[in-house]
């Protein structure tokens, strides 16, 4: 029945409906930016609520589209992140000339991510990946007057085109040796054929680019610095989160026969990523580049968690992404507001921030503590569960190096906190009045960052979704 399609694909249908509503609103009479933004925020909130009801399991169209309650929850995390980003970019979008196009591009990217997460076929997966990348490359150039924006967008599109080419080469070789593209049939046909190993390496290279694993991370800093802050936060949270979900699912279902191979690979990659991310974050001056390198380091920890394949790993990854949404978006929200109002992006400009903006500096501090992993913020629990998931017999080297790096990362996060609270500045940033929408976003993010760690039903709920899948 066609109503079954509608219910199973409800989140995708909702996003498509929003894209078309936006197109028709744009073609209609002239509206102010405010009305667009208010409409969009209400629609995104409805979309988020819709994601919690009527969740069913199902497979459609010859395994092109799979959905389950876990997948619906993952999509809802992305919806939540999209809503928070939309609320936070209020001040920047108020004076922008292309508001509907911004939302269309973001929603198209979100739609691509939905299809990527719920794909059961390598073809649909690739199409979803492309669909999530291309609008972002256009959106990264949204600050049309700045040269850095164009430079970042060019780097993004060239690097992502090249990594998609690698991914596609791997997929085609996998298809050539096994004869099928369907996820559920592939594990039975993968038998240590050397060509399949080569395909696996290329596919991992394609993934590693999108989640900024070292040594595929070189695009991250420049793109994060050049793109407008809303797009940067989308890239760092939503794009990374979606590809991580897909990565976990592909690695555990399709490549399960190769578990010994990718354990070693993840060992090395996670160590490299954590160490490189930490070392480079220490030296950064620009706040957006700093957050870029800090997010690279966070991904390294996630790889530690993934390295042992089990249900606890999947749970801890999803849990960590949820916490990462809150903490990272809180930090980016403050940066977005400050950049929109004053245009300043360097860490040294934030000296003495506490004197003029006490509320915002507390939000930023809680966000940074959560990213660093200081208890009782949720970031601590996220990292804790990741390390537990990664621990198993004989994995202690990795865990201990990761733990040492957590302490190192504390240095650069606290450096920013010190600048905010303790450094004196003759020309501090002016006192910023937060409009209603970003204020709501900050409240949600801070509440999430503080409480999700201690509220245990969240973790148990995610675990139940995975075990019962």
């Amino acid at each position: 029945m066609w109503t079954d399609f509608l219910i199973l694909m409800k989140q995708e249908m909702a996003v498509i409906a929003m894209i078309f509503i936006l197109l028709f609103m744009k073609l209609g009479r002239d509206r102010s930016n405010e009305s667009f933004m208010n409409t969009m925020n209400v629609l995104l909130l409805l979309n988020l609520i819709l994601g919690f009801v009527f969740n069913h399991e199902g497979i459609l169209f010859n395994e092109m589209f799979r959905t389950s309650r876990l997948i619906a929850f993952e999509k809802n995390i992305l919806n939540l992140a999209m809503l928070i980003i939309s609320l936070q970019s209020y001040s920047w979008l108020k004076t922008n000339k292309h508001v509907p196009e911004f939302y269309i591009l973001m929603l198209s990217s979100l739609l691509g991510m939905f299809f990527m997460i719920s794909s059961g076929n390598l073809l649909m997966f690739y199409l979803g990946l492309e669909m999530s990348t291309i609008p972002l490359a256009a959106a990264a150039n949204f600050d049309l007057t700045k040269r850095r924006s164009s430079e970042g967008a060019m780097k993004l599109i060239f690097s992502s085109a090249f990594s998609s080419a690698c991914l596609l080469f791997g997929i085609s070789m996998l298809y050539g040796t096994t004869g099928t593209l369907v996820f559920s049939e592939l594990p039975h046909l993968i038998n240590n054929n050397p060509l399949q190993l080569f395909a696996f390496i290329l596919i991992i290279a394609g993934f590693a680019f999108k989640i900024s694993v070292v040594p595929f991370h070189l695009w991250t800093a420049d793109v994060y610095e050049g793109a407008p802050v809303a797009v940067t936060s989308f890239l760092s949270v939503v794009s990374k989160g979606a590809v991580l979900f897909a990565f976990v699912s592909v690695l555990y279902t399709v490549f399960s026969p190769l578990a010994k191979v990718w354990y070693n690979m993840l060992f090395i990659l996670s160590l490299l990523t954590i160490i490189t991310g930490n070392l480079f974050a220490i030296r950064q001056e620009n706040f957006k580049r700093f957050l870029a390198f800090s997010s690279i380091a966070q991904v390294g920890f996630i790889l530690v968690g993934i390295s042992r394949s089990s249900d606890i790993s999947t749970t801890s990854v999803i849990y960590f992404v949820l916490i990462y949404v809150f903490s990272n978006l809180a930090a980016f929200g403050v940066v977005s507001l400050v950049t929109a109002v004053t245009g300043k992006e360097n860490i040294s400009d934030y000296k003495g921030f506490y004197k003029t903006n006490p509320g915002l500096s507390w939000v930023l501090t809680i966000a940074l503590f959560s990213l660093a992993g200081v208890p009782p913020t949720a970031g601590f629990f996220g990292k804790f569960f990741l390390l537990i998931a990664g621990a198993g017999k004989g994995n202690y080297v990795l865990i201990s190096i990761a733990a040492v790096n957590i302490v190192i990362s504390l240095y650069y996060y606290l450096r920013v906190v010190k600048a905010i609270f303790m450094d004196a500045n003759p020309t501090p940033l002016p006192s910023i009045r937060t409009p209603l929408m970003p204020k709501l976003a900050f409240i949600v993010c801070v509440a999430g960052a503080v409480t999700i760690g201690v509220v245990s039903p969240v973790y148990d709920y995610i675990y139940s979704l995975i075990v019962l899948r």
């Binding site: 169209f61 196009e101 591009l105 649909m124 199409l127 291309i134 040796t177 050397p194």
Partner: protein
């Protein structure tokens, strides 16, 4: 050797030589022209595998439209060797080393894949390439990727208009 064999080897040679000429040409317009020859060779390969629709659409879309856009951009950019920064010799050396390593890995993987030997592609047979079968498959099994690709094009157009429009 039969006609199909002769055609296969000559098309392969044409494709490889043109691909190398793409990389080696000093003039970017020549690179684009050699790339068009590569596409012709690949379309020839598709016809050998009886994928008729794919061959012709490859010509129409790739060689006929996308390469014209490449030519536009290159003609308007007016590149020549005096204005372009030259890469250092070490970068070229390491590039060659990395590419050569990749190629040698790939060849060794292909050679040691024992179960690929003895399999050959079906030439000029098979129903898959015909338009009727392709159309049926596209609208029954592969309808979601087909429709989603259209939304992808829409968003790409929106992005291109945002970046490119002068107002």
């Amino acid at each position: 050797m039969g006609t199909a064999q002769i055609l296969f080897w000559s098309l392969t040679a044409l494709a490889l030589i043109s691909a190398i000429m793409v990389l080696v040409s000093k003039n970017p317009v020549y690179s684009v022209l050699w790339l068009i020859v590569v596409f012709f060779a690949i379309s020839g390969h598709y016809i050998l595998l009886n994928a008729q629709f794919l061959a012709i659409v490859n010509l129409i879309v790739y060689a006929g439209a996308i390469m014209v856009l490449f030519l536009f951009v290159i003609m308007l950019m007016n590149l020549n060797t005096e204005t372009e920064p030259q890469k250092s010799i070490w970068m070229k050396f390491f590039g060659v080393v990395a590419g050569g390593l990749l190629l040698s890995f790939f060849i060794s993987f292909v050679i040691s894949s024992a179960d690929l030997k003895g399999k050959s592609a079906q030439l000029k047979e098979g129903e898959i390439g015909l338009i009727k079968t392709l159309g049926k498959a596209l609208f029954n099994d592969y309808v979601i990727p087909f429709e989603i690709a259209s939304i992808l094009f829409l968003s790409a157009m929106v992005g291109a208009v945002v970046i490119g429009k002068k107002d």
